[in-house]
């Protein structure tokens, strides 16, 4: 019964989404206030209906209703409750429902926080979001219904993929989807602006906080995913240039370009058409990413052959959304008009250069991800491009981008002077070059790549320090007052940029100085790595809720002093008879020690891999700083000011009434 309620609720949600996609947009075109006014109640109704469907599916998982096909394929009676709930988005159908759910959350959020928008603009934005929702709900109801019944019901479920049975599964997908779907707001703003022909600074100002919010979620989502891969896959890697990762990285690159170009559009009125194009691209890549990961096309392009309707629907949907919005862009963009002029040497130019570099980087990832799929689909052979391709491409593209990051915030809008910038940054340059030359030698060895990485990281540190110093000096007020006087958005930028530096530093050090060994160990044997001694304490058998495991422990000592114990497990998930390695990690600011159990060999010996990962945690710390910078920018006074003004306005109105 409950699954039927969920199913029915989805059908109602589709009808509501259709109404949301039709009436407000037509109302905005005709100036019909009643039709425009429908947008907000419809958005809220849609949210309620999808939430009911979502709760129904979660309920089916919680109560182990194996008469529902999706539950039976993605859950099991022995699966712990938290993973049974997370299993809601463990497969194709459920993750689409999560997508639709999050889209309705963003839609409601827009309907709540858009009081300051003109009625027609708000109606169009909510309408466009309704149309996207129609696509997803239609897709689910036609070919990917999570509530489909299984007759006769299964006795027990096939279990959630053991790889996904991890706390990472609870946070990573919702975070990532909040980011993906969040770009739909920027997209809807852009389409609404194109429809209404009002692409001005106000449009950029309204659109900015939403875009930053989505970007923060996406950053955190990717960070969580990378961290999860690091401890779950047992190879000590944190990024594999896997197609699934690339699918989330492309919207991030374009989204990063977008938040910067929005800043220019708001402050200077320039880059309007480019900003709109980026907003369309960011969301299109989010859509593409969702489908790449969730359609099974990556496992095999022939996955479509098993259910051609799914593949066809996806292709048609992508063509309609991407093609339609680009066509609209081509038609309306020429009317946008040009923004303020700027000189060759100006902050606008530097931001434009960074934008182009980020866009080219996103394109290179797209090429590396899609081209092998195309070849395969056309029957022209199977190829793969692995990390070497992406490494070769990214170093030369990101080097100028990171270098310009040091210059951009120092340069003036409109017209700046190179000699003056060079003058101001000469110390930062000197410090970073010196660090790049000396630090690696102190750490053991110098290579050009280590030198380059350290130079870029310290270049951003030093130029940011200069920037902050310049902004704070020359006043008699106490330092706290001076810090508070500067807008939070500016501090957000500084912290996010420092996050990039911390990230770069982490990547450089871990790539340059990591080491690993793979050894055969008998209980009591000792392995040596990076000055530490690892004593194998042997393996014990343990019993988990839905797996059995061999747990091996390594006692870590340095110069005879005990430091930590690494305990790694080799699990066998009984339902799918699938082995999994659980790495033993001792994380620290300076370095991680990482061990994972290989296979049992004869005489109680095991093959063991031990990794020394210097400063690897800085990679995720850098991502967290970027997200923190975004949040700080969101808490800027000008966004709160508007709310306060609105409140004061309401108060005055009340007083007038009284």
């Amino acid at each position: 019964m409950i699954p039927e309620i969920g199913h029915f609720s989805l059908i109602l949600a589709l009808l509501v989404a259709l109404a949301l996609g039709i009436f407000p947009i037509i109302g905005a075109a005709r100036g019909n206030a009643v039709w425009m006014g429908l947008a907000r109640p419809l958005a809220r109704t849609q949210f309620l209906l999808i939430a009911v469907a979502f709760v129904c599916l979660a309920y089916a998982f919680a109560t182990m209703d194996y008469s529902v096909t999706y539950v039976a394929t993605n859950s099991n009676s022995k699966l712990p409750i938290q993973f049974r709930i997370a299993a809601v988005w463990g497969g194709h159908e459920g993750s689409l429902l999560l997508w639709a759910m999050i889209l309705s959350v963003w839609t409601v959020a827009v309907s709540l926080f858009s009081k300051h928008l003109p009625d027609d603009m708000r109606a169009r934005i909510l309408g466009v979001m309704g149309l996207i929702s129609v696509g997803f709900l239609l897709f689910m109801l036609m070919v990917s219904n999570p509530f489909e019944r299984l007759i006769p019901a299964a006795l027990d479920g096939r279990d959630l993929n053991p790889l996904l049975q991890d706390p990472g599964m609870i946070f990573h997908p919702p975070m990532l989807y909040m980011g993906y779907v969040g770009f739909s707001v920027a997209f809807a703003f852009a389409i609404a602006a194109l429809l209404g022909g009002q692409l001005d600074a106000a449009w950029a100002r309204w659109s900015r906080p939403w875009t930053t919010m989505a970007w923060v979620f996406l950053t955190l989502g990717i960070m969580a995913g990378s961290n999860w891969a690091y401890y779950e896959l047992g190879w000590g890697g944190w990024w594999f240039w896997d197609a699934v990762e690339n699918a989330s990285f492309m919207p991030w690159l374009v989204g990063t370009a977008l938040i910067h170009s929005l800043a220019v559009t708001e402050k200077r009125g320039s880059f309007k058409a480019w900003t709109v194009l980026l907003a369309i691209c960011a969301f299109s890549l989010s859509l593409l990413g969702t489908f790449l990961v969730r359609s099974g096309v990556l496992t095999s392009v022939h996955a479509f052959a098993t259910d051609p309707r799914r593949g066809l629907f996806i292709l048609v949907f992508l063509v309609v959304v991407i093609g339609g919005s680009l066509a609209l862009f081509a038609w309306r963009a020429p009317t946008v008009g040009r923004g303020g002029k700027f000189d060759v040497v100006s902050r606008e130019s530097f931001l434009l250069a960074n934008n182009v570099l980020l866009a080219v980087a996103a394109f290179s990832v797209l090429l590396g991800t899609l081209y092998p799929l195309f070849l395969d689909a056309l029957g022209l052979g199977k190829i793969s491009v692995g990390p070497p391709y992406f490494d070769t491409v990214f170093a030369p593209l990101m080097t100028p981008a990171l270098f310009l990051m040091g210059i951009g915030p120092i340069a003036r809008w409109k017209k700046s002077s190179l000699p003056e910038i060079a003058m101001r940054l000469r110390w930062a340059f000197g410090v970073s070059v010196a660090t790049a030359m000396i630090l690696p030698v102190l750490l053991g060895h110098w290579t050009p790549m280590i030198g380059l990485g350290l130079f870029l990281a310290f270049w951003i540190f030093a130029s940011s320090a200069h920037l902050v110093y310049q902004r704070l000096r020359g006043s008699d007020q106490p330092i706290i007052t001076r810090v508070k006087a500067i807008p939070r958005a500016w501090w957000g930028m500084v912290i996010a940029h420092l996050g990039i530096a911390v990230f770069t530093l982490g990547v450089t050090i871990v790539k340059g100085f990591e080491s690993e060994i793979a050894v055969r160990m008998l209980p009591g044997e000792v392995a040596h790595l990076a000055g530490y001694d690892f004593t194998f304490k042997g393996v014990e058998e343990i019993q988990g809720p839905n797996y059995t495991a061999s747990r091996g422990q390594l006692l870590v000592t340095k110069n005879g002093v005990e430091r930590t114990i690494l305990s790694s497990e080799k699990r066998l998930y009984t339902v799918q008879n699938m082995p999994m390695t659980e790495a033993g990690i001792s994380p620290a600011l300076i370095h991680d020690l990482y061990a994972s159990l290989g296979e049992p060999l004869e005489d109680g010996a095991w093959s063991v891999r031990i990794y020394y990962k210097p400063m690897v945690e800085w990679i995720w710390a850098g991502c967290a700083m970027m997200a923190l910078g975004g949040l700080l920018a969101l808490s800027d006074r000008r966004y709160r000011m508007r709310k306060r003004l609105a409140k004061e306005g309401a108060l005055k109105a009340n007083e007038a009434l009284a």
């Binding site: 993929n161 095999s300 060759v344 080219v360 290179s364 395969d376 190829i383 030369p396 390695t581 093959s607």
Partner: protein, 152 residues
């Protein structure tokens, strides 16, 4: 003065386009030189693979072929597409789902002695899932000789 400004603009756009072109060249070049092709054991046996280049091979691990070296880390096994078999040598820890009789994909080079030296062994994370390359190899071999039965 006005002409000069316009002139400057053209030069700039020119430089911009040249740089984007350069980036495109870099990307395509990197793409070209890092493409890894896929071959089946039958193709390897026939010598269709250019010598000295890294490529991927896929198929099933021949049951009973897995042998460990004395160090416990060097492993030898054979990959088959049911028609032809290629011996593989690999030093390192095998992935969790590596099993005799199951699908596998390895990346590496083939030496003069016909032994494939793997730098990487991949087996994806699902009991019933066959790596696409492995499935492809079996399909092609099956198409060539209809008499063989594909192992389950």
């Amino acid at each position: 003065m006005a002409i000069k400004a316009r002139h400057k603009r053209f030069v700039l756009i020119g430089i911009g386009l040249a740089l984007v072109g350069l980036a495109a060249m870099l990307i395509l070049n990197a793409f070209q030189s890092n493409m890894v092709f896929f071959y089946t054991p039958t193709q390897v046996e026939k010598g269709e693979v250019p010598k000295g280049t890294s490529f991927r091979i896929g198929g099933l691990v021949v049951p009973g072929s897995l042998k460990r070296g004395d160090d416990g880390l060097t492993v030898r096994f054979a990959i088959t597409d049911t028609s032809k078999t290629v011996p593989v040598i690999y030093k390192g820890v095998l992935p969790d789902l590596f099993k005799e009789g199951k699908g596998v994909v390895a990346q590496g080079k083939v030496g003069d002695n016909g032994v494939f030296t793997a730098s990487e062994v991949l087996a994806k994370h699902d009991e019933n899932y066959m790596p696409p390359e492995a499935a492809e190899a079996l399909k092609r071999a099956q198409a060539q000789s209809k008499t063989l039965i594909m192992p389950k």
